[in-house]
């Protein structure tokens, strides 16, 4: 087990290495080069020359690259141009918000998607099945930011039952230890603050969760359809096992493998979606921060974030692979 984990992490190294080269070259190809990105387009040539010297942008590319990688290896992702604070520190304060949002979105997507896909397959060709197909089509074709608008308009503006934006009501004076607002409220016993933070998560969570929801419904449906006609299911029926046992331990469990893979693959979509969702709901997470970074050409932030996501991506896929052996004992980790 440990050996597998070690091997997978070792495999990550060439990818990260290649990524660091691409990111390094990316910054050097920004319009006007990194100094212009730092100083803005109206910078004087003298100022640019000074910055080039100060940051070593005038040195040979290879030297610059080695310095960059050396810093990365020490955990130094640079300083944000927009805020002047270290990139890692900025991530640490904002990532919990996005994680909170992503978790709500995933809970919604899995909690609704798996049962819906399962029952659609069970009642194949009937009304529920057809509506699940239509629903997942809508989920795939409606852009997440447009869906965010619709939800905001109906629930926050028309009915006024959920907050339209932000992470927490500004009038609530809550203590924050972990930056996970809901968790903070529970830990400190400020349940009203936790509840308020949770209410703020519902609309963005629903909007963000719809993309993975649509995909999870489809995969679950297709997978259950395939499994429920398998020979071993027929055998189980012939043996006279209880229908509940057949459905739970035979069909559902065996159908879950592709579903778990799919859930692991949703991360990229979720992060892209978070940038858009957080923009619509003025939700102060990493997505909004990235949006500002894009406009300020805050390249240390973008560079750092892409590396961060690549590592996260690889780790999640590792967890997904390891979870196979739990779901399906035949897939033993070798």
């Amino acid at each position: 087990m440990l050996r597998v984990i070690g091997k997978r992490i070792a495999l990550l190294i060439p990818t990260l290495f290649g990524l660091s080269i691409l990111l390094f070259l990316w910054v050097r190809s920004l319009p006007g080069g990194p100094a212009t990105a730092l100083l803005g387009e109206k910078a004087t040539p003298e100022a640019i020359a000074r910055v080039n010297e100060l940051y070593g942008f005038d040195r040979p590319l290879l030297t610059q690259y080695l310095t960059y990688v050396g810093r990365l290896l020490q955990g130094d992702f640079g300083v944000s141009i927009n805020t002047g604070r270290p990139v890692l520190e900025e991530f640490a304060t904002r990532f919990p918000a996005t994680l909170e949002l992503t978790v709500v979105a995933l809970i919604f997507a899995i909690g609704v998607g798996v049962p819906l896909g399962y029952f659609a397959a069970r009642y194949y060709g009937r009304f529920l099945d057809h509506s699940s197909v239509v629903l997942s089509l809508i989920g795939i074709t409606v852009p997440v930011f447009f869906l965010a608008f619709i939800l905001k308009y109906i629930f926050a503006i028309q009915w006024g039952i959920l907050p339209p934006d932000g992470r927490q009501d500004a009038r609530i004076d809550a203590t924050h230890y972990t930056q996970f607002y809901v968790l903070d409220g529970i830990l400190t016993g400020e349940y009203d603050a936790a509840w308020d933070a949770f209410l703020h998560l519902i609309l963005p969570g629903l909007a963000l969760g719809t993309i993975p929801l649509a995909i999870i419904v489809r995969i679950t449906r297709a997978s259950v359809l395939e499994v429920q006609n398998a020979d071993y299911v027929r055998t189980a029926r012939a043996k006279g096992l209880m229908e509940r046992t057949i459905r739970g331990s035979f069909i559902l469990r065996n159908a879950m493998l592709p579903v778990v893979t799919t859930i692991g693959l949703q991360l990229g979509l979720l992060i892209s979606g978070a940038v858009l969702t957080e923009t619509v709901f003025a939700f102060n997470g990493i997505g909004r921060f990235l949006r500002d970074a894009i406009f300020g050409l805050d390249y240390p932030v973008l560079q750092g974030f892409i590396i961060f996501i690549a590592i996260l991506y690889a780790l999640i896929n590792l967890i997904v692979d390891l979870s196979y052996s739990v779901i399906d004992p035949r897939v033993r980790v070798q």
Binding site: G18, L19, P143, F145, I150, R291, L302, F305, I306, I309
Partner: protein, 313 residues
């Protein structure tokens, strides 16, 4: 199956013998087309795309005003934006700049479809080039290309597009290139794996036995037979390209005038007026969703039509 086949052309074969009909073989693509024509889902998709294409091409004739024009500038005030049917001459009302919403939707169709088609073509071309090199040559070329593709795939699609757009500056060309490049890894991988799965096929062995050169085998035998999944993916990618294009211009990477007629950008500026003028968000949003729906329906029917597992039923 035989009922939808065209009558066998002349010859000595008995025209009504279904075995001989299939033996003559409608090609894969012809067969797929015939199956598409019978699929209501495909028809709906094709009609949607056809309508939007027509609107996009005929935009100069259909749109009452130009895309950037502000004909209703004098009719809007900071507190009132006339909605659909509230003001003569502007059937869908005005936006906050005083632009005619109907005209902007029509010009927006042109912009969106153009970006979608050009960027997908770009991604397809780049991906096919990499895929053919990797799948055709194998060995270290394959290794290098696939590692490169892995690196690109480790960055979320939209972020990759955004990073590329940041280098190229803010314009609709930058969006096309950014979305196109961000699609390259998917096409490259798909074509490569499709080619690999064909490599052991009997007809390849036959071609090798005949002594054909590797290039001929790759280009005239392997490639055409591996294109199915790639074509399906391209159709589905058109839907994502339209959505991604809207997302990038929604984020403000489109460049040009703020009132430019782009669906994504119309949504950006609808944000502030959501409470008083929700139609400014709903109309362009619905256009994006319907276009994406059209391409998705068409792509999925095509996948079904080309899938040997669902054929011959």
């Amino acid at each position: 199956m035989s009922t939808i086949l065209p009558p066998a052309a002349g010859g000595s074969a008995a025209p009504n013998d279904p075995a001989i009909d299939t033996g003559r073989g409608t090609g894969l693509w012809k067969d797929a087309f015939l199956r598409l024509r019978r699929n209501p889902q495909a028809i709906v998709g094709a009609v949607i795309i056809g309508l939007f294409l027509l609107v996009a091409i005929l935009a100069p004739l259909l749109a009452p005003y130009g895309g950037d024009e502000l004909p209703g500038r004098t009719s809007i005030t900071p507190t009132t934006i006339p909605g659909p049917g509230e003001i003569d001459g502007f059937p869908l009302g005005l936006d906050r700049f005083g632009g005619d919403v109907l005209s902007k939707l029509i010009w927006g169709a042109q912009a969106s479809l153009l970006i979608g088609v050009v960027s997908t073509a770009l991604g397809l071309a780049g991906g096919m080039l990499l895929g053919v090199l990797a799948g055709g040559l194998g060995g270290w070329v394959d290794n290098v290309i696939m590692r490169f593709v892995d690196i690109l795939l480790s960055v979320p699609n939209l972020l990759l597009a955004v990073s590329i757009a940041a280098v190229l500056g803010q314009s609709s060309y930058a969006i096309m290139i950014a979305i196109g490049v961000s699609q390259i890894p998917i096409f490259a991988r798909l074509l490569r794996s499709s080619m690999l799965s064909q490599r052991g096929a009997d007809y390849i062995l036959a071609a090798q036995t005949l002594g054909l050169s590797r290039r001929t085998i790759t280009m005239s035998h392997l490639l055409p037979n591996s294109m199915g999944p790639v074509i399906v993916q391209a159709t589905l990618t058109l839907a994502t390209a339209v959505i991604d294009a809207a997302a990038l211009s929604f984020l403000g990477l489109g460049g040009g005038l703020p009132q430019a007629a782009e669906w994504g950008r119309m949504l950006t500026y609808a944000q502030a007026e959501l409470a008083v003028a929700p139609q400014l968000a709903f109309l362009p949003g619905a256009c994006i969703a319907i276009t994406a729906l059209g391409f998705t329906l068409l792509g999925e029917s095509l996948r079904e039509a080309l899938d040997p597992k669902t054929r011959r039923k």
